[in-house]
């Protein structure tokens, strides 16, 4: 059986390997803890309902300090090849992708593994992590900074918290309305028919790779 006539309904293409799935869920867990502990810290009136403020603060602090770990660990080791490759995909855009983003998805696009919206989401979240880490640390170890800088750090930490919250909610809505893509962050694989619709260029690439590297298709 040749690769091109493999059943379109089989979950054949590996979109996220084990390392990526683990990194995603570790990252998601940390973000959720951060958001849930941020709510009582920001809206004072909620606190004390479940946990004392001091404890909520400590959970928020330590979760925040470890936020970058899943991303870093999944990228650095010999296990991180797929992750590194996806970071390159996310970073490097074609003119078509820029155009697609500019026209909010109306211009034609032979989509990569991730569409420009997904790429932008990933870049923004990736860039927010150091911003939150630095401003959060400034709030925790405020003694080393003049008061106006502390106020600036509070301002940035608050605004980015809102932006991240909006982006995360958008991410979840997109996931829940795109079930097959969602399934791949649990099981790792997608069908060819999905790839044809959502990631045409990636599908071609995968086929090419299987033909040239492995010679024979996997079953």
């Amino acid at each position: 059986m040749s690769i091109t006539d493999a059943p379109a309904k089989t979950l054949r293409l590996l979109r996220f390997n084990r390392v990526q799935r683990a990194a995603h869920w570790a990252n998601a867990t940390l973000f959720f803890i951060l958001i849930f502990t941020a709510i009582p810290l920001y809206f004072g009136s909620f606190f004390g309902v479940v946990l004392p403020r001091h404890l909520i603060e400590q959970i928020h602090l330590w979760t925040g300090l470890s936020l970058a770990l899943p991303v870093i660990i999944s990228l650095v080791g010999p296990w991180g090849e797929a992750m590194r490759q996806d970071v390159r995909r996310i970073n490097f855009w074609t003119r078509d992708e820029l155009e697609w983003l500019r026209t909010a998805g109306k211009s034609p696009l032979d989509a990569d593994k991730f569409n420009p919206g997904q790429k932008l989401n990933a870049i923004f979240v990736g860039a927010s992590i150091p911003v939150m880490l630095v401003t959060g640390s400034m709030l925790q170890w405020f003694r080393f900074f003049p008061v106006s800088i502390r106020s600036g750090a509070t301002f940035v930490h608050d605004i980015f918290a809102w932006l991240i919250f909006i982006v995360v909610v958008g991410h979840i809505i997109m996931a829940l309305t795109h079930r097959e893509a969602l399934r791949s962050i649990f099981g790792g694989r997608v069908t060819e028919s999905w790839a044809k619709r959502h990631a045409g260029r990636w599908l071609k690439e995968q086929r090419q790779r299987e033909l040239t590297i492995e010679g024979v298709p996997k079953t």
């Binding site: 810290l41 920001y42 004072g44 009136s45 606190f47 004390g48 946990l51 004392p52 403020r53 001091h54 404890l55 490759q85 970071v87 390159r88 995909r89 996310i90 970073n91 490097f92 855009w93 074609t94 003119r95 078509d96 992708e97 820029l98 790429k119 932008l120 870049i123 923004f124 990736g126 860039a127 927010s128 150091p130 911003v131 630095v134 401003t135 400034m138 709030l139 405020f142 003049p146 008061v147 106006s148 800088i149 502390r150 106020s151 600036g152 750090a153 509070t154 301002f155 940035v156 608050d158 605004i159 980015f160 918290a161 809102w162 260029r201 690439e205």
Partner: protein
């Protein structure tokens, strides 16, 4: 991230643009600018829109409610008592009515937390601590004043000189209304020239003592004298700030 040889699709006819690096730099630079100028930006927003509207925007003018114990002590107006004791001629227990019958002081000041957030133009109303001390009669040998809270955990202290500053008040009104429970009501301390942690909430007792007893936050590393200009001496070198 800096490598142009993406290796992903080298035979692609289209040139690749490193959007990732640009967006990443853009976001982090925005963050840095916000840290450097966010304080002034908030001031501008506050003066353009007024603190009421600025308070609705993320980041600006919002109280972060702190409590040490994890819950708020709820004391009704009727049951509230302020006990003044220690090195005084006439130890006195004040009721709400007693406090409200005393000469009233009101002013509008920025509430500034030591960690950076602040709320401008907060209206305060209450009794000058100096008036209360005068009422009970401070004995010779007294050096400082200690404060206790109905949360049974927070404590604070001021030197006698600091306690006599005109903008150090026992406040029963804040933001144009009786002090709410979460803000430390029905009665709290407000030490205008110092950071917020000095303004003890749910004030239950004032003790005139013969030495400065560092309060809860001071025992946890904050300066005993938390002047808003960042100095930590017993007297404020720049009293104009208050």
């Amino acid at each position: 991230m800096s490598s142009e040889s993406s290796g992903v699709d080298s035979e692609s006819p289209q040139k690749r643009i490193n959007v990732g690096r640009r967006v990443f730099l853009g976001v982090t630079v925005l963050g840095a600018l916000g840290v450097a100028f966010g304080n002034s930006a908030q001031n501008v927003l506050g003066s353009v829109f007024g603190s009421g509207i600025a308070g609705l925007l993320p980041g600006g003018d919002r109280f972060r409610i702190y409590s040490i114990t994890g819950s708020y002590p709820k004391i009704s107006r009727k049951r509230y008592r302020l006990e003044v004791s220690g090195l005084v001629d006439r130890p006195t227990t004040f009721t709400m009515d007693d406090l409200e019958a005393m000469p009233k002081t009101s002013f509008t000041k920025t509430f500034q937390c030591v960690t950076g957030w602040r709320v401008p133009d907060v209206q305060w109303e209450g009794v000058q601590l100096a008036d209360i001390l005068k009422h009970v009669g401070v004995q010779p040998g007294a050096v400082a004043v200690s404060f206790d809270s109905y949360d049974h955990s927070d404590t604070e202290s001021l030197t006698l000189d600091q306690a006599h500053l005109p903008d150090v008040i026992v406040a029963y009104s804040m933001l144009g209304a009786p002090v709410t429970t979460e803000h430390g009501g029905p009665v709290r301390l407000y030490v205008a020239p110092m950071f917020g942690y000095k303004s003890l909430k749910w004030l239950s007792g004032i003790r005139v003592v013969d030495r400065v007893e560092p309060g809860f936050w001071e025992q946890n590393g904050y300066p005993t004298n938390g002047w808003l200009d960042g100095t930590t001496g017993p007297t404020n070198p720049d009293p104009g700030l208050t």
